[in-house]
Amino acid sequence: MHRLSAILLKEWRESLRNKMVLFGVVFLPLFFVALSVYFVVEGGRAADPIDQIVLFNASLIYFMLLPVIIPLAIAVYSIVGEKEGATLEPLLATPISDLELFLGKALASVIPALVVNWVSFGAFLGATRLFVGAFPMQALTAPWIASIFGLSPLLAFFSVLVTMLVSSRASDARAAYQFSSLAVLPGVIPLIVYSTRKTLVDLTLVGLEGAVLLVASAILLYFAIRVFSREQILTRWK
């Protein structure tokens, strides 16, 4: 726990001083909040109730995309940055275990992403109240709330694990950056299912997705630690 918290604090301190990471964490949520508000405004204007639902769903989907995208900036840097700064070898020379290292770095990406996501969601509700009066509550159903608060952590964790797995196995830093963008895809698949539905999101779907993500994340974490090769990272990376 001691080492885990040390990794978390270090990652956050570094991220706060990294303009590239900060830009991704601040700019993207602002952009998505603006887009979401736009869809709500458009939904309010739509005459067809189905179009309204599609637009309202579209406005909420961004709060499931953010926890998938935001952690990537931090996660890819967390391993690649260590290698580029030649800090990985001193780090691996300590008695830290692979699980502590992996979990510490994963949580360091997931926690700020969730905080930013939920703060953005609050800002979005505030903005819709300001521009539309209030968010149409028939669209903000329990399944959506369960998705934003329950499913998004799993989505974030899953996407971070994919990114870290790719980063740690990539032959060099450039390859890691390139492949990390693909890590968003597995996380986006459930969102595509959401966005193609023309009905309200239901709890069964949320529960099913949650279960799948939970199992997939557990398998991925196990697999990621198994294939994380200190040796390969030290000797193969250029």
Binding site: K10, G85, T87, A93, T94
Partner: protein
């Protein structure tokens, strides 16, 4: 403190370290010398339990490599070839982070102790990336010492440092030696190795020779005295018929005389020269450098068998 037997590491077809046998004693500064690509860093990585040997075995700080890697990492400190500091973090935050990873009882206190010891306290809040090369290297050494390791691996600690910074680092190593820590020093700087190391190993994928620098020189070159003469007459070297003289060579106005025990034989040599009517300006010992030894041995190692 470190024992290696037949330690080998291959990378595919390439043999980076070939059947290394090594014994490093407690409290000694052990120099590990070799050209670029000799496998020095690979050796350090194996002994610091960062990478596994392909074959062979080693014991580091009483722990078996492979069976107790985490314990080895707890007991050793490693200074890598590049300082590898978190450039955006302050000097103090860098040390506190590593102190926590090593579970040091008082991370902030220990960080302060080493920042003061290495005269970096005034720059404690400066980002590591803004420090000078010498300061970064000192900070990296401080990081390797935070958990008070029994063995310290230093990989090229003065490489790419200016003379002043290099001297500071060397002084630091000398201070560490007085603390009875075992130091495994990889270096290209042969003068540095000569000054700092109790014993040195010359290594080029395999161990070539190991021993105390002075003894290695003596074994390789013997002990030689140079007598600087005043107007030596021709053939003086032939007239010098002393039984203990093992060899004699004339270079300009000087005679280079190979002796067994110069402390006892030098006065007799001077006496005989005076008897022969030759003025002796002064006498000194011909001291071959570790560099001479290194280059000669490396040349022999490269020569076809």
């Amino acid at each position: 403190m470190i024992t290696a037997r037949g330690l080998t590491r291959r990378f595919g077809e390439l043999v980076a370290v070939d059947r290394l046998d090594l014994d490093v004693r407690k409290g000694e500064v052990f120099g590990f010398l070799g050209p670029n690509g000799a496998g020095k860093t690979t050796t350090v990585r194996m002994l610091a339990a960062l990478i596994a040997p392909t074959s062979g075995e080693a014991t580091v700080a009483g722990q078996r490599l492979g069976a107790a890697n985490r314990e080895i990492r707890r007991r050793v400190g490693v200074l890598t070839e590049t300082p590898g500091l978190y450039r955006r973090l302050s000097a103090r935050d860098n040390l506190i982070f590593f102190a926590k990873l090593y579970r040091v009882a008082d991370p902030a206190g220990q960080a302060e102790r080493y920042l003061r010891l290495f005269e970096l306290w005034d720059r404690r809040d400066a980002a590591a990336g803004s420090l000078s090369k010498g300061m970064r290297q000192k900070l990296a050494i401080a990081r390797a010492l935070l958990h008070e390791p029994e063995i310290l691996f230093l990989d090229e600690p003065t490489a790419s440092l200016d003379p002043e910074s290099a001297r500071t680092v060397r002084e630091t190593i000398e201070e560490l030696r007085s603390e009875e820590r075992t130091i495994f020093l990889c270096t290209h700087n042969l003068d540095e190795a000569d000054r700092l190391c109790d014993r040195v190993a010359l290594f080029n994928q395999r161990l070539i020779v190991v021993g105390e620098p002075a003894k290695l020189r003596e074994e390789m070159y013997g002990r030689r005295t140079v007598a600087h003469l005043v107007d030596p007459r021709p053939g003086i070297e032939d007239a010098l018929d002393l039984p203990f003289v093992k060899g004699i060579e004339r270079i300009d106005d000087a005679l280079v005389v190979s002796l067994t025990d110069p402390d006892r034989e030098n006065p007799l040599l001077v006496e005989r020269l005076v008897e022969l009517g030759v003025g002796v300006r002064y006498v000194n010992e011909l001291r071959m450098s570790l560099e001479d030894l290194y280059l000669d041995l490396m040349e022999d190692d490269d020569a076809p068998a």
